[in-house]
């Protein structure tokens, strides 16, 4: 299994203004192994990968690929050397076809003319290798995020790669797709590829990886054989501390604390998105919204927040019927919504942390009643401390923060508006265990303060841990509400799966 080192990184250092992202990090990948690269957000995983793939230039250290020094100043250099990367967010062109995306940048053809037959054939081969049944002529943007991710992987595999880097490839895949991906990864391992696998799901680490490297705060914690590292000590190494006791289910405790209705919906429908949903959220309760990918969870959130208009049905906020035609209406009614798509629906990438944090409150107040700068600074200082947001200061562009810290700023954006109800759509997606635990604690705190929370998550355990009640969606319809003693993983799974247990 472990052969000669395929890739060695020694003493890699990288600093950004105000932050040391990597400090003397060593990293070794052998041919024919799956190597998990783990760490909290801000630990330096992404930076290390970007150094490796030529996106960033390291300030210190050396990189060797198969014994040869690797000089990758631009991503194309790394690709040519045989390092292929699939990033967390799909970096493909949505308006081109699947086949075109797979061929992009290395189109077969002559004299500037494309060989379309070859392009389609390559695409079909690449897709077949992943066991994907998908039309190469389909427009990429019309596919689900999960399928787009698979196309991105197919594209990377299409190269004559020696090292494949998968940066959180499973974040948006369902169980079957994850299993398929693992099968492909194992096959590639047998072919002698080195695979670097970044993920936040520990189950997956133990399911597929041979070796683990742990980073923390930009430094190397250590390299371990997966088989020899118990899960608990792995978590300890990643966090540098012991995990807090998992919160027991809340269902019983909360029965008596729930207060007046904050938001209620009756036969809420929108064609192609949601069919006849009834829902009530009261003060001081966390309503979990469970369901498989594509079951209508996000669609529900979008309807409740006025992003999409409903075709029929009634919405009441604090008992009064409301029109709710835009997010602006929703914000003014005291609702808040943290989208699952942080990059395109959450952050204002080039604006500062401060501006990102105060924008919703400012929008709620209207443009002319401007928040005094001192008040803005006070809010920032408060939330940066309260949510432990890691940033050099409040004036740096938010895009320079790690994913988990961006997410915390977005949470702070909504908390600053002092909402009556906050909808959290996959708030823990793509962020590390430490930040996850912090966000879960925060949900409990909000509940205690009497804020109503709608909590959407694909992780059933998370729903059980944090919700006082859960609403299950299947195929864009509500299919049951679970409360009290019954709110546990088994019941939820059964409700989500419905009559047929295998397919959605």
């Amino acid at each position: 299994m472990s052969a000669a080192p395929l890739l060695t990184l020694r003493g890699i250092g990288k600093r950004f203004p105000g932050v040391i992202a990597l400090d003397g990090v060593d990293f070794t990948v052998r041919a024919g192994e799956i190597h998990a690269l783990l760490g909290e957000n801000g630990a330096g995983k992404s930076t290390l990968i970007k150094v490796l793939t030529g996106v960033y230039e390291a300030d210190a250290g050396e990189i060797k690929l198969a014994g040869q020094p690797l000089r990758a100043n631009i991503p194309a250099d790394a690709e040519r050397a045989g390092i292929s990367t699939v990033y967390q967010e799909v970096n493909l062109v949505p308006s081109l076809s699947v086949a075109e995306n797979i061929a992009l940048g290395r189109q077969p053809g002559r004299f500037g003319f494309l060989n379309w037959r070859a392009i389609r054939r390559h695409a079909r081969e690449a897709l077949a290798r992943l066991g994907l049944d998908c039309d190469p002529d389909a427009e990429l943007g019309s596919l689900s995020i999960a399928l787009q991710q698979m196309v991105a992987i197919a594209r990377a595999l299409d190269l004559k790669a020696r090292l494949l880097i998968l940066d959180e490839p499973t974040a948006s895949l369902d169980e079957k797709e994850v299993a398929d991906l693992f099968a492909v990864m194992r096959r590639l391992r047998e072919q002698g590829l080195g695979i670097v696998f970044v993920t936040h799901f520990l189950d997956q680490v133990y399911a597929v990886s041979d070796r683990i490297t742990v980073l923390r705060n930009g430094t190397l914690v250590g390299e371990y054989l997966t088989a020899e590292l118990p899960r608990l000590s792995l978590v300890g190494k990643m966090l540098g501390r012991d995990l807090a006791e998992p919160t027991p289910g809340l269902a019983n405790a909360a029965e008596n604390t729930a207060g007046a209705s904050v938001l209620s919906a009756r036969s809420l429908s929108r064609k192609g998105a949601l069919h006849s949903l009834d829902l009530d959220v009261r003060r001081g309760e966390v309503l979990g919204l469970a369901g498989l990918l594509g079951s209508g969870r996000t669609e529900t959130a979008r309807l409740l927040f006025g992003i999409d208009e409903r075709d029929s049905g009634e919405l009441r906020v604090k008992g009064a019927p409301v029109a709710l035609r835009s997010p602006r209406d929703a914000v003014r009614l005291g609702l808040a919504f943290c989208s699952e798509d942080r990059k395109s629906e959450g952050i204002l990438p080039n604006l500062s942390v401060r501006e990102n944090l105060i924008i919703a409150l400012q929008a709620k107040q209207g443009g002319w009643r401007t928040l005094a700068r001192s008040e803005q600074d006070r809010l920032c200082a408060h939330y940066i401390a309260a949510l432990r947001i890691k940033t050099a200061d409040a004036e740096v562009p938010i895009r320079t923060l790690s994913g988990g810290n961006q997410q915390k700023v977005l949470l702070a954006r909504w908390l600053a508006t002092q909402p009556a109800l906050i909808i959290l759509d996959e708030p823990t997606r793509g962020i590390d265990i430490g930040a996850k635990a912090e966000i879960e604690q925060l949900i409990g705190k909000l509940r205690a303060e009497g804020i109503a929370v709608i909590f959407i998550s694909s992780e059933i355990e998370e729903i059980v841990r944090n919700s006082t009640r859960a609403l299950v969606l299947r195929e864009r319809r509500p299919c049951g509400e679970i409360a009290g003693d019954k709110l546990n993983v088994n019941h939820l799974m059964k409700a989500m799966a419905g009559g047929h247990t295998k397919h959605e």
């Binding site: 992003i307 629906e345 952050i347 080039n350 400012q362 443009g367 401007t370």
Partner: protein, 335 residues
Amino acid sequence: MTERVRQFLRSPVLWPLAGIALLLIANLILKPGFLNITVLDGHLYGLPIDVLNRGAKTLILALGMTLVIATGGVDLSVGSVVAITGAVAAALIGQGTDSLALIVAGALGAGALAGLANGLLVARLGVQPIVATLILMVAGRGVAQVLTDGQVLIIKHPGFDFLGNGFVLGLPFTIVCATLLYLAAHAALRRTAGGMFIEAVGDNPEASRFAGLATARIKILVYVVCGFCAAIAGIMEAANIGAADAQRAGENMELDAIFAVVVGGTALAGGRFLLLGSFVGALLLQMLITTMYNLGVPPAVAPVPKALLILTVCLLQSDRTRRWFGGLWRGKPAS
């Protein structure tokens, strides 16, 4: 203090400022009398004053254009709006309207209306800004032709003439007006959340909408402001030459305005904007044009140095070329 200096050295305004300084020096060497300012009847005259006076229209157009570009749009119609508003003023005067307030209000109203049309097309109907404003760019000249009956209307109105040729405190009215507009815009946008709203919409329109911003209304408003600015420039143009020329008034001025904004460091992609940058950028362009007159460069050749200047400033502002230059400085090739 050193942090301030470093910040200034990184500011996009630095290079256009350096360009102005360079042109000043070149003029001084080639025509030593360049900087002379004479006082006549208590009014200041001289080439530097000329630069400011002639540049005032571009300055004002660039102001509105900055805001439109900051939202991720562009307004190609401002040149035509200059012609329309000039024609409106001339037509009103031709019909015997005597009240200056009424004439100005008519022209400003026409400009704002043009901006509203652009804004509605962009924000409500989702037409791409370049296409939406191209419509008015082309159609606007026709509207102006109809208003002037296809002739160059001569304007005789002393009050109106002041708006193009008058002096305030020894300075041309146009400069005073342009400067005041910039100061007012700065106060209105940077002292309130307005500027941040515009930048947010340009940076990520979807996320801005999700955060509760009235993105459509903000976009419409910036196009209205841009049309309003074009109307002010149109009044100045008509008053300055004492005529409304539907064909030639404001010709290519939309491009000058866009150049000024880009040279001033506001990215065409939208987001962060710099009013001071656009101010300096517009002055740099006018400085260059005046320099070429001054040196007797034939008008037909004049666009070439203008293009070279824009290219230079844009290269100097690009991070990549700067890093490359930085590499040369240290004597080793940078990435």
